[in-house]
Amino acid sequence: MTTGTEQTIQFYEKRMPIVTRSVKGRFRNFKTAVLILAYTVYFGLPWVPWHRHDAASQAVMFDMDGRRFFIFDLVVYPQNVFWLAILLFIAAAILFFATTLIGRAFCGYFCFQTLWTDLFIWVEQAIQGERPARLRLQKQPWNAEKVAKVGTTHLIWLLIAFWTGITFILYFGYAPDLLKRIFTGHAASAAYIGVVGLALSTYAAAAFMREQICAYICPYGRFQSVMYEPETLAVAYDVRRGEGKEGRISPKGELKNRETRIEQGHGDCIDCGFCVQVCPAGIDIRDGLQYKCISCGLCIDACNNIMDSMGYPKGLIRYDSEANLALETPKPPAISWKRWKVAGYLVAILVMTVGLLYSITQRTEFEVSVQQIRQPLFVILSSGEIRNRYQIRLTNKTDRDAVYSISAKNLPPQALDLGDMQTVTVRSGKSIIVQASVKLQPEQAEEYEHFTFVIQSLTNPADRSEESANFYNEHNHT
């Protein structure tokens, strides 16, 4: 700017397209294994049939109409929503636990953004070729070859995205039937909105946004950084070994020989750039730990392969901790367990998991709530007796019809009136309301201020619930 005008500021950095090179190695294999496992579960689970009492069903099904979630033999009702809360707490604690030990392992290996981006890059490479071929294709004008290759890539991406959306929706109905209805136009509008919404967001996120999701959108990436400690293992470049005193240099002529390099003060890094080319986040790990690094380990694989071919020791880029790398002579990298923080996370995970499992195993097969009718709180009858009324809401959570008997403890005989509802049959998944009334003499009212409703399943003798209730009269109602 020589004109003296102010420089215009660009609000957004222009994205440089990242064209990654494929790589082989331990971390690549691990990532592939996780991807296969995750996709088998995600895409396969809706198709696992499961025998249920009332209808053909699948292993995992979220029955929105019936307001119940089937997870194998566990039936979860909206009343159990706190299980979900605990599950999310546990997931968060595991995330913190893993992050403080080995950094952003979730981001690098398990996050669905990483998985789908990985698959989309794999498709891109299968059709358009390795990195140099793809770069060439990008530069060349739009001819038949480019249209065919790029078009096919996008078509396959769209198909994957579409099937991702469909699969998600299949969790909400009986898959074989729902799939047919989706394609014949008989599914609910929510199903179509879900499929299209998820397909488009998958397509956008995995084909175009990719690492930008991690860098600019995802909050988890950012707050995981807060959990890093000097002892945390992270993908790190050993600067001292790589740069030496004179910096990295390409291995020309006699510089191929490691001894010569060390004599001349050069490090082991031959500046081949492979670690940068394989990086899905488009960063240079040699610049140090940075917020864009999702800790996927592909640069470790790339560098190890080069070190092998050069005959240098592996591990120039490796999982290591900041504290260890700062030592005079770094020790072999190891997970640092002995920290209060780690113990704290572990205790939190254990306590919550035990609590959740306990709650699940102790669940009753029915849900009951007793509500005192408050308008009016009590009624004086023509004989002078006092009557309180209660509504008992009973939900059968099993997958078959059940019979329940309702009675009361700590009440004089004949005081409880249930009409014709002493024993009730409740269909699977249904709720009923039973109106109960309790009638006491005024002088009894003080004595029986608190009593208990007993709901006993006659179908399953182990299933029983006691609900405490109060009896109000003109003296104790304020």
Partner: protein
């Protein structure tokens, strides 16, 4: 941002210079913003065609979208899209969803409804809505009524009977309670004696002599109370006369009066002035037979049975 001076082109200007050197930068809005803006403009235009939009004099453009609904009189109507019609359409759908239950309530005898937990549960929840909309204005939300105004439906005292058929008849045809005024017929002492007698029936401590005199008066042809309230003063459900022997009071606020004198005054007031305000409207023209049947069961469950 690694912006290096010299790499960027000179900023674009509008191309006009004022006063020799005064120029204006041309900073267009971002493309994504512009695209979103044009999409929303297009959406607005589509909206004008679909829905009511532009006022024209006393009318407005109606739009092409329509709603078909069935109105209160059972006539199917199709109009331009509007929220009133949308409400009617959604009400139609809700009514259709309740229809199978209503049909079942209509075809099931009263005694069987209360034995069927699922049907009874429907009665409790649907009945609560009907009761809130139609009955709660007088009988209060929970049915407890109000002394001096509307009977309590949650106790066991039923002026016109608390059996299913009684309650159903009460809702269908309404009721009109009447008691003649006695101020012209009886002197103050006689009214006091009657009041004491009536209070004594409810086991309230009053002057026994006065109550004894009241008893005689009650059964005499002078006051002739027994005509309506019966020899035993327990009332007659066929004409809706009150049972005077129980603890429940509708018109004279005896439970709410603290002293015996106040209680007596409340009863005397009723005897003197009589009653011509116990009016329950008839619902047969406002509610369907199915709704009335459902409400009957609901009210019966509040405290019926006698």
């Amino acid at each position: 941002m690694n912006q290096k001076i010299g790499q960027k082109p000179a900023p674009q200007t509008t191309g006009h210079a004022w006063d020799d050197d005064l120029q204006e930068y041309n900073n267009p809005v971002p493309t994504w913003w512009l695209v979103a803006f044009y999409i929303s403009v297009a959406a607005a235009v589509i909206y004008w065609f679909l829905y009511p939009a532009w006022p024209i004099g006393g009318s407005y453009t109606k739009g092409f979208d329509t709603i078909t609904y069935v109105n209160d009189k059972g006539v199917t109507k199709t109009t331009h899209w509007n929220t009133r019609a949308l409400l009617m359409k959604e009400t139609n759908e809700a009514v259709a969803a309740q229809k199978p239950y209503y049909t079942k309530v209509a075809s099931t005898p009263f005694e069987k409804i209360t034995k069927d937990p699922e049907l009874d549960s429907f009665v409790v929840s649907a009945g609560k809505q009907l009761f809130s909309d139609n009955c709660a204005a007088c009988h209060q939300q929970g049915g407890a009524g109000k002394v001096g105004f509307a009977p309590n439906l949650t106790d066991d005292d039923w002026l016109y009977g608390g059996k299913f058929t009684n309650i159903q008849q009460t809702i269908i045809g309404g009721r009109h309670g009447y008691m003649p005024p006695f101020a012209e017929v009886l002197d103050d002492k006689q009214v006091s004696q009657l009041a004491d007698y009536v209070l004594s029936l409810s086991k309230i401590a009053v002057d026994p002599a006065s109550a004894q005199a009241g008893n005689a008066l009650f059964h005499s042809e002078t006051a002739a109370c027994y005509y309506c309230h019966g020899d035993n003063a327990q009332g007659r459900q066929e004409i809706g006369s009150a049972n005077l022997t129980d603890r429940i009071w509708l018109w004279a606020n005896v439970p709410g009066s603290n002293t015996v004198a106040d209680k007596e005054a409340a009863v005397k007031n009723v005897i003197r002035k009589g009653l011509n305000k116990g009016v329950m409207p008839a619902w047969q023209d406002r509610l369907s037979a199915d709704q009335i049947k459902l409400l009957t069961v609901y009210v019966h469950e509040l405290g019926g049975g006698k």
